[in-house]
């Protein structure tokens, strides 16, 4: 038996889900446990193209730490990540690349669109800028701002956590989801 915790004793722990417990066992719904585990250990893929990427670097740094939400490990390979954070302007030349990266992600996957340019084209209403990434991929959470403050990016991230926690376990196989994907031309 180790010594009791003397220093970090104000650590906030997530509440366990509702369930029935007894001596050595605990029963609850599978979706709740899976949602709890997934939402507090999201591995994001930062798809940073421009100025919002620099605000993201500030979010990753020590002042507004993103790692305390469970995203210590930023992956750069889409095959290993859950959440793609698209930060910055996506030009028409870049849109096929974004779609290809999205297709390489495994289900379940979420998309966070950070900044005005990724959400709707931003101030660049020009011939070469894609007016929002939702023209090519389905988006879960939009974070407005130009660039959004790190607190706003963290708020968007927490909304994604809420979505992950409460997602129905059969959502990715449901006909509505398949219809959403086929409306983007993704099989």
């Amino acid at each position: 038996m180790g010594r009791p915790v003397t220093h970090n004793n104000k650590v906030k722990i997530v509440e366990s889900p509702q369930g029935f417990q007894g001596d050595g066992f605990f029963t609850t719904k599978l979706s709740e446990v899976v949602g709890l585990a997934r939402s507090n250990s999201i591995w994001p893929l930062p798809f940073a193209t421009s100025c919002c990427g620099i605000e993201f670097m500030a979010t990753m740094a020590a002042h507004y730490d993103l790692a305390r939400f469970g995203s210590e490990r930023l992956g750069f390979s889409p095959r290993q990540c859950d959440l793609i954070m698209v930060m910055g302007t996506i030009a028409k030349k870049m849109a096929p690349v974004l779609k290809q990266v999205y297709l390489q992600m495994a289900e379940p996957r979420w998309v966070l669109s950070v900044g005005a340019c990724a959400s709707s084209g931003g101030i660049f209403d020009t011939y070469s800028v894609l007016q929002g990434i939702d023209q090519v991929i389905p988006v879960d959470v939009y974070v407005p701002g130009c660039p959004p403050r790190p607190e706003a990016i963290l708020d968007g991230f927490m909304r994604v956590q809420d979505l992950v926690k409460t997602e129905h376990i059969r959502r990715r196989n449901s006909p509505e989801y398949k219809e959403l994907l086929s409306s983007y031309g993704i099989e």
Partner: protein
């Protein structure tokens, strides 16, 4: 189902090909920004590199033809977004040159403080990212705390952290509040110690030195032919700095040195940027001293035709309301002509070539972007070297995607 008897056609010449084609980017953890390089590699060595840019082309030059002059400042923010106040000030100075306006000294000194703070921020990002690309993540985390202090100073002045849109044509939009001066003093007290800590991590670190010395160098003659400016050129040994060669904004009143390297490799660029940070701190100290002798209420020139009046005056005085209306609706007389003005940005000479035909919006505005110009030299620098050296070289050149593609 492929039958064993059908032939699978191979690409032309692929059997005899000795090199391996690899695609670096546009999405890659080490390319800070979106640019692609198609590399022909022989093992670890790069035989040929072909860069492709344009993945974040936002058509700034066409967008500028649509916007009135005072609305172009937010576009210039997004060029080199790590040091956006420098771009803003450069644009204001270009337009002030066109109309022939002279700024009071206090405005110049305040502008210099803002520009030097943003230069420090830009160089801090570049140097810490060179560390990250060689595996040293600690420097990045130490240094971003000081960037947060600089962001707080910008917030006191203009309200925004990164894409600042600071200043107006004719000066600044508001006087620096006392909180801004307090924060600048606090920054000047705490920053030198933190910078020394960052330097001790990397500058004489044997692993870092062996990794970066001799890698990614370029000859001074070739650098000039390619149009290099800024710290990359100064690392090759040529002391060409816009602040001393074509002084603008009262830089001639300040005493500072221009650090110069010898071989132009990654280590020299790292050292030159570090020294420039120290020189910027000196310039800020001198500017604060000079400001203390001047009238503290002056923060803009007397240009009623172009300087948007302060909001309290617009709501209370008739004249200010009329001028505000005239400027926003485009009823003021804008001279026609062609002007070129350049400032020393974080990467070199950021130039603005403005052709005005007297209308409300520019006829043509062209940005001379240093990143675009020196990225052409990247294949020449990298060919013959190893892949990991190419990554470190790319981050030491401080390629900002917004400035590359514009």
């Amino acid at each position: 189902m492929i039958d064993s008897k059908t032939n699978i056609p191979l690409a032309e010449g692929s059997l005899g090909k000795k090199t391996y084609t690899m695609n670096l980017g546009p999405t890659h953890p080490a390319t800070h920004g979106v640019f692609q390089n198609i590399l022909e590699m022989d093992g670890e060595r790069i035989v040929k590199a072909t860069p492709t840019v344009g993945y974040i082309h936002r058509a700034f030059e066409k967008l500028a033809e649509r916007r009135p002059f005072y609305q172009i400042t937010p576009i210039t923010d997004r060029l080199n977004y790590c040091s956006s106040p420098i771009n803003n000030m450069g644009w204001h100075m270009t337009f002030e040159k066109l109309i022939g306006a002279k700024m009071p000294k206090r405005v110049d000194y305040l502008r210099i403080i803002i520009m030097e703070l943003s230069r420090i921020a830009d160089h801090l990002v570049c140097n810490s990212v060179i560390g990250v690309d060689t595996g040293a993540l600690t420097g990045f985390v130490y240094v971003f705390e000081f960037r947060e202090l600089i962001y707080e100073i910008f917030e006191e002045i203009c309200g925004s952290r990164l894409t600042t849109n600071i200043g107006r044509i004719g000066g600044l939009e508001r006087n620096f509040p006392d909180a801004a001066f307090n924060k600048i003093d606090h920054f000047l007290e705490t920053f030198p110690k933190g910078m020394k800590e960052f330097e001790t991590l990397l500058t004489r670190n044997r692993i870092f030195m062996e990794r970066t010395m001799g890698c990614g160098g370029i000859d001074a003659e070739r650098a000039l032919n390619y149009g290099f400016t800024g710290p990359n050129l100064r690392a090759c040994g040529i002391d060409y700095d816009m602040r001393t060669a074509h002084p603008y904004c009262s830089y001639e009143d300040f005493k500072f040195e221009i650090p110069v390297g010898t071989t132009g490799d990654v280590y020299d660029r790292f050292l030159v940027r570090n020294q420039e940070i120290w020189q910027s701190v000196e310039i800020i100290k001198q500017a604060l001293e000079k400001i203390s002798d001047l009238d503290p209420t002056v923060f803009h020139a007397d240009l009623p035709d172009f300087y948007l009046p302060e909001k309290e005056d617009v709501y209370t005085k008739m004249e200010a309301l009329i001028y505000h209306f005239k400027i926003v609706m485009g009823e003021t007389e804008i001279p026609s002509g062609e002007v070129y003005h350049a400032v020393e940005g974080g990467n070199g000479e950021v130039g603005y070539y403005l052709i005005s035909d007297g209308g409300r919006t520019p006829y043509r505005l062209h940005f001379r972007r240093p990143c675009f110009i020196y990225y052409q030299a990247y294949p020449e620098i990298v060919e013959g070297g190893m892949l990991s050296d190419a990554i470190v070289t790319m981050s030491s050149l401080n390629l900002i995607a917004g400035e590359l593609d514009a």
